[in-house]
């Protein structure tokens, strides 16, 4: 697998570390909401785990040190979109 980092260009996946489902992990619940226990259970443990298109967080540790949101097909490992995680991260309340 090769990941086309928006800052460094196309690099082998061994330069990156994987974290997981971007849409779950970038939407940390508000700890003050009344159903916070259930929301944090879902945030920490539950995953959609789709067979197909998956938006996921990768960290370019051996490159520019940026967090990326990579859209990849989990059935084929084909990567279609790579963007910086900065904008969606801010939108998800993790600025």
């Amino acid at each position: 697998m090769r990941i086309d980092c928006p800052y460094c260009g196309e690099r082998g996946s061994e330069e990156f570390s994987y974290l997981g489902d971007a849409d779950t992990l970038m939407a940390r619940p508000d700890a003050d909401r009344p159903d916070a226990a259930a929301a944090f259970h879902a945030y920490v443990y539950l995953r959609d785990n789709p067979a197909g298109r998956h938006r996921e967080l990768w960290y370019h540790g051996a490159g520019c040190h940026s967090w990326l949101v990579v859209t990849r097909d989990t059935r084929t490992h084909a990567i279609t979109v790579v963007i910086s995680a900065a904008a969606p991260r801010a939108a998800g309340g993790r600025g």
Binding site: R47, N49, A51
Partner: protein
């Protein structure tokens, strides 16, 4: 037909023309008492014990492909019960006890070989951790021996004991551990279940579930609707996909794990070794190939194949502990899909849908668990209550905080 030396001799004189198929190939009936989804080792074992222990014989095992085509045929065949936590030790020991009587019970040669499993340790702290785990095992009646460096060297003479970074200081040995022939386990359970009346329905993919006011009524498949009041899912690797059909979100990611076999060589290693300073384990099959593996590739995958960085990582770990491996050519590799649960331990439990049961989350460790998984899942389905040795494998343990985190690393889907 019962297998024995006499049946073998009889068939030898007839040119082996009289062997019958080991199981039937029935068309699905319209209704069963229990349907097991997934014809791997766990699903077939569940059907076998439902019929044998609980007397429930109107059972169907439905399999998308052919039986044993998933992880039952994609593992490294290791059996062991060297677990340290209360929720695990009794379960895996029950599995080991079932392995010890499996071939006589099934009348099938599963090539169970108790050649021992050694976990090497490389530091004082790791020795202490292994001593603690060994003591926990012995307190549960499981065999464990802590070996020093000289004892380890006697069993594994050709490893790199002078490695400056990761010196081998000894190992934790479970002599009753070993290997079994993975395909034969699936076939043996299939034959045993079939002889008790279970229908094994291959090339039959589940596409949906019949649910009526919160209770499962059956399944929709590529070969039609099959009704049953109880349905068990034993589809590790694909559990999230199947559970999504009934709207269940699970604490699970599917990951790919690769394993490797070398060219066939004369007997070289007569036990199962795991490297404690990197992730690498190796044994030798009866055909002579070295069978080895290591870490996950590390990203969600349903592809049943991995990538080269993980291959390099595994082989580097192997070379670190056993430099002689470099003279042996590796022949082939494969990838299997792991249900990686968020604490590294399995789930055998009910679901919010009445009559629908889950057996999943086996991470790397499903093969050794096959007999006990089938035994406990059959118990759960037949009696609607957890078996005592599997009582900790609850689906709600992530919400209640009763995690079974054998590795002690917290919530992440890349544990054992």
């Amino acid at each position: 037909m019962r297998y024995s030396i006499f049946s073998l001799i009889r068939q030898a004189f007839r040119g082996h023309a009289g062997w019958e198929p080991a199981w039937r190939d029935p068309a699905p009936q319209s209704e069963y008492d229990v349907i097991i989804v997934g014809g791997g080792g766990h699903g077939l074992a569940t059907a076998y014990y439902l019929a044998k222990v609980h007397g429930i014989t109107r059972v169907a095992v439905v399999e998308r492909s052919w039986i044993g085509s998933g992880n039952a045929g994609r593992n490294t065949t290791i059996i062991r019960s060297n677990y340290g936590l209360p929720g695990n030790t009794a379960f895996y020991e029950w599995s080991m006890k079932l392995w010890e009587g499996l071939e006589q019970d099934l009348n099938y040669n599963a090539m169970v070989s108790q050649r021992g499993v050694i976990n090497l340790y490389h530091s004082d702290a790791q020795r202490d951790a292994y001593a603690r785990r060994g003591n926990a095992m012995r307190l549960h009646g499981v065999d464990a021996e802590l070996l020093n460096r000289a004892q380890a060297r006697e069993m594994l003479p050709f490893f790199d004991y002078e490695n400056a970074r990761f010196p081998i200081q000894g190992g934790l040995l479970q002599r009753r551990g070993g290997t079994a022939r993975h395909d034969a386990v699936a076939w043996g359970y299939a034959r045993g279940a079939d002889r008790l009346g279970v229908d094994i329905i291959q090339n039959c993919e589940v596409t949906g579930f019949l649910i009526d006011s919160g209770h499962v009524r059956g399944i929709v498949t590529t070969r039609g609707v099959i009704r049953a009041a109880k349905v068990g899912l034993a589809v590790a690797g694909n559990t999230s996909r199947v559970a999504a059909m009934v709207g269940l979100d699970l604490p699970m990611e599917s990951h790919v794990l690769q394993a490797f076999v070398s060219e066939g060589i004369k007997p070289l290693i007569d036990t199962v070794m795991t490297f404690g300073a990197g992730h690498f384990y190796i044994s030798q099959s009866d055909k002579g190939g070295l069978v080895f593996g290591g870490d996950l590739d590390g990203y969600n995958s349903y592809a049943q194949r991995g990538n080269l960085p993980a291959v390099e990582d595994v082989l580097e770990a192997g070379m670190a502990v056993w430099p002689g491996l470099g003279r042996i050519r590796y022949l082939r590799q494969w990838g299997g899909l792991m249900d990686m649960s968020m604490d590294g331990s399995p789930i055998i439990d009910r679901t919010p849908v009445a009559g629908l049961y889950l057996d999943c989350g086996w991470c790397y460790g499903g093969f050794k668990a096959t007999p006990a998984s089938g035994w406990c899942f059959a118990h759960l389905i037949a009696r609607d209550e957890s078996h005592p040795v599997a009582a900790a494998y609850r689906l709600d343990r992530f919400a209640t905080g009763h995690l079974i985190d054998e590795k002690g690393q917290g919530a992440q889907p890349n544990l054992h």
